[in-house]
């Protein structure tokens, strides 16, 4: 026999020598045994997910970027003494020369005022073609874009979850009919709907006054309506699929055997187990809504002037793209940062919380 291992080389009869403390050959007590057998630390699903999320550098970076952006859009309009809609005034006088200035430049009137000992807040991103401070406008634009994104995804979340959970839980004919409606909605062209709706709404609703809706304009309202009418179908499908899989789990059967009612089963067993997937998908919905809004504003179907959004800022910057490149760069950079951060965060959340990816 080919000998490769030392024990096999050990002759059968010759004794093996060991150095052992013979007193150790006593029976061990139960306590001693228990010390060798420890259960690992208790973690809940949420804690475990957060721990994974914290270890994901991209997701953490996205959170920091988003927090910085949110800080910027709340603080900047308060601190910077310019308004998004008004032309810069120096010492109470309109400064008509302060148009299209490069970042950190002052106009003649401002320079004069500074020389006289007055103080002028710097134009961090310069000014636009009408002489408005661009930094404030970008901050406001970001605010509007983010609001549109969050609001749209909330609409999608509410309608999609309700619709999808009804179809998924009751199944059968209810499911069949509800999902065919979803299929029909899927086949409607969304951009066409937005354009048509905004034209119609423009005729029907004539806003004057100063409410937030009036300032946003009918285009935005039609955007929200279209989101509410069309964009929830993806979410509804996702929720329905989730519920169908969860329904098959034996713990749902166990609850039925216990005599639990449908409402209890949905509340205690089904929703808690698909909530993470729903939230992840809602987080990924935000950048897509921001994209749509920016695109619509870019083709001037977006917010009503003078209210800026990132898309309309980028659109306005097109005209002077060779001379005033920075005016396109700032809003475009903002859109890029926001969508990238939300997408990376959504991916990070998925890795940390999606039950399918963990065991």
């Amino acid at each position: 026999m080919d000998k490769t291992y030392d024990v096999d080389q050990m002759p059968k009869k010759n004794p093996l020598s060991l150095q052992i403390d013979l007193s150790k050959f006593e029976k061990a007590t139960d306590e001693e045994k228990k010390q060798a057998d420890v259960m690992s630390e208790s973690t809940s699903f949420f804690k475990d997910g957060m721990r994974k999320l914290r270890k994901n550098p991209l997701a953490m970076f996205s959170i920091i970027v988003l927090v910085l952006i949110i800080l910027m859009i709340t603080i900047v309009p308060v601190v910077v003494p310019y308004s998004y809609s008004d032309i810069i005034t120096v010492n109470g006088k309109r400064d008509k020369s302060a148009t299209n200035m490069a970042p950190f430049k002052y106009s003649k009137m401002e320079q004069q005022y500074i020389d006289e000992g007055g103080k002028v807040f710097p134009h961090i991103m310069g000014t636009d073609e009408l002489g408005r401070d661009y930094f404030v406008r970008v901050a406001y634009g970001t605010r509007i874009s983010l609001l549109v994104g969050v609001f749209a995804s909330v609409i999608v979340l509410i309608i999609g979850v309700l619709y999808g959970s009804i179809a998924g839980y009751f199944g059968g004919k209810v499911d069949l009919i509800m999902m065919r409606i979803v299929d029909i909605i899927y086949s409607l062209p969304d951009l066409l709907m937005i354009i048509l709706l905004s034209v119609v709404l423009n005729e029907v609703l004539k806003f004057d006054g100063h409410g937030i809706l009036a300032r946003l304009g009918t285009n935005m309202i039609s955007l929200f309506i279209v989101f509410g009418l069309l964009y929830w179908v993806g979410m509804a499908r996702l929720v329905r699929g989730q519920i169908l899989t969860i329904k098959k789990n034996e713990y749902v059967l166990a609850a039925q055997v216990s005599g639990a009612k449908s409402s209890r089963i949905i509340r205690r067993h089904i929703l808690p187990n698909c909530i993470s997937v729903i939230i992840i998908s809602a987080a990924l919905q935000i950048p897509s809504a921001i994209f749509t809004e920016s695109f619509l504003s870019f083709i001037s179907l977006g917010v009503k002037a003078p209210m800026p959004s990132l898309g309309s800022l980028a659109s306005a910057a097109r005209s002077g793209i060779t001379t005033y490149t920075y005016k396109l760069i700032f809003p475009a950079l903002m859109i890029g940062l926001i969508t990238l951060a939300f997408n990376l965060l959504g991916d990070g959340l998925r890795d940390a919380f999606d039950p399918k990816l963990r065991r």
Partner: protein, 326 residues
């Protein structure tokens, strides 16, 4: 359904001619019934264990689930303590009939603590007077199944398979049922842990007098735990007998080959014994052979087997066999 059927008051659970068909789409418009259980009859006495064995797809799980009305049977009568089990009566019977599931991973909700999982049947039936009473009952149940009370606030995924199965059993015991369906309750466990859980089932039966329908594919386990055994093949019962009688003296050719196919953990008998190896596979339940479903694999099949399904007949001492040739 036979509305005139008179249940025997001696039995805790009585099943008469249970049929459970699932419609399966075949082709564009066709629907063929999948006969998961076709005319199954048996009875279980209080405090007794009936083992239900058969290979995958034979309908044993369907019978268990129809019994506690997770499915609505296509036809047949089920009685519990002499009362007919139907949509109306089941609400009141839920407390008395419980189930332990196969998969210790998917049978516990990952978002709930052990305390809430075991407490759910108590919550549903409002079986406690105060928060303290609820907690006491839960800790009692945990102790009964050998779980450490300190673990009440932990989540299910932190436990090993065997401990998870104990949690599932504690949940089933919470309402103090008289009858528990154990659907492959030990099949997913390692041998050493399986033995712990089997012992626990036996101890609980002695303590609480609960009856089991013990569904499993492992004949050694079923033989160990059951008083009586029923053997199922393609939706039909082919043989029922006392556990030892069935093991010593199997009559139906299917039972014979099933018993001889069991690999015994003993090298000498395992290597020397002559086994009856069945040819071929189990036919699809959508295309059931005519007559006796086993005839396509049976050594003794005759023309009569193809014509008519044999009925279960008593061969003495309650040993029931459904076979023309034996």
């Amino acid at each position: 359904m036979d509305m005139n059927y008179k249940p025997n008051p001696e039995y805790l659970v009585e099943v008469n001619d249970l049929k459970m068909y699932f419609p399966v789409k075949t082709g564009l418009f066709g629907r063929t019934p999948l006969k998961a259980a076709d005319g199954v009859s048996f009875a279980i006495r209080p405090g007794e264990t009936l083992g239900l064995v058969g290979e995958s797809g034979c309908g044993k799980t369907t019978v268990g689930r129809a019994l506690i009305r997770l499915y609505k049977p296509t036809d047949g009568d089920i009685f519990f303590e002499g009362k007919r089990v139907d949509d109306k009566s089941i609400g009141g019977l839920r407390k008395d009939m419980q189930m332990v599931f196969q998969d210790p991973y998917s049978s516990l909700n990952p978002r709930m603590t052990v305390e809430d999982i075991i407490g759910e049947p108590l919550d549903v039936h409002k079986m406690y007077t105060s928060r303290e009473d609820r907690r006491d009952q839960i800790l009692n149940l945990m102790e009964m199944v050998g779980l450490n009370a300190e673990h009440a606030t932990r989540y299910a995924h932190e436990f090993s398979g065997g401990q998870r199965q104990r949690i599932g059993i504690a949940r089933a015991l919470a309402t103090k049922p008289k009858f528990i369906v154990c659907d492959e309750a030990v099949s997913a466990l390692d041998v050493s842990i399986q033995a712990q859980v089997i012992n626990m089932f036996e101890d609980l039966q002695k303590q609480l007098g609960v009856a089991y329908l013990f569904i499993a594919h492992d004949l050694l386990v079923v033989h160990h735990i059951s008083h009586r055994i029923a053997v199922m093949y393609l939706g039909k019962l082919v043989e029922t007998a006392d556990s030892d009688e069935l093991n010593a003296n199997p009559v139906h050719p299917y039972t014979q080959s099933l018993l001889s196919a069991v690999p015994h953990p003993d090298p000498k008998t395992a290597k020397n014994s002559k086994r009856i190896i069945l040819e071929g596979d189990v036919p699809s339940p959508l295309h059931m052979p005519s007559g006796c479903p086993f005839r396509t694999r049976c050594r003794f099949a005759t023309e009569q087997c193809a014509k008519e399904m044999p009925q279960l007949t008593d061969r003495g001492n309650g040993h029931m066999v459904a076979c023309w040739n034996k």
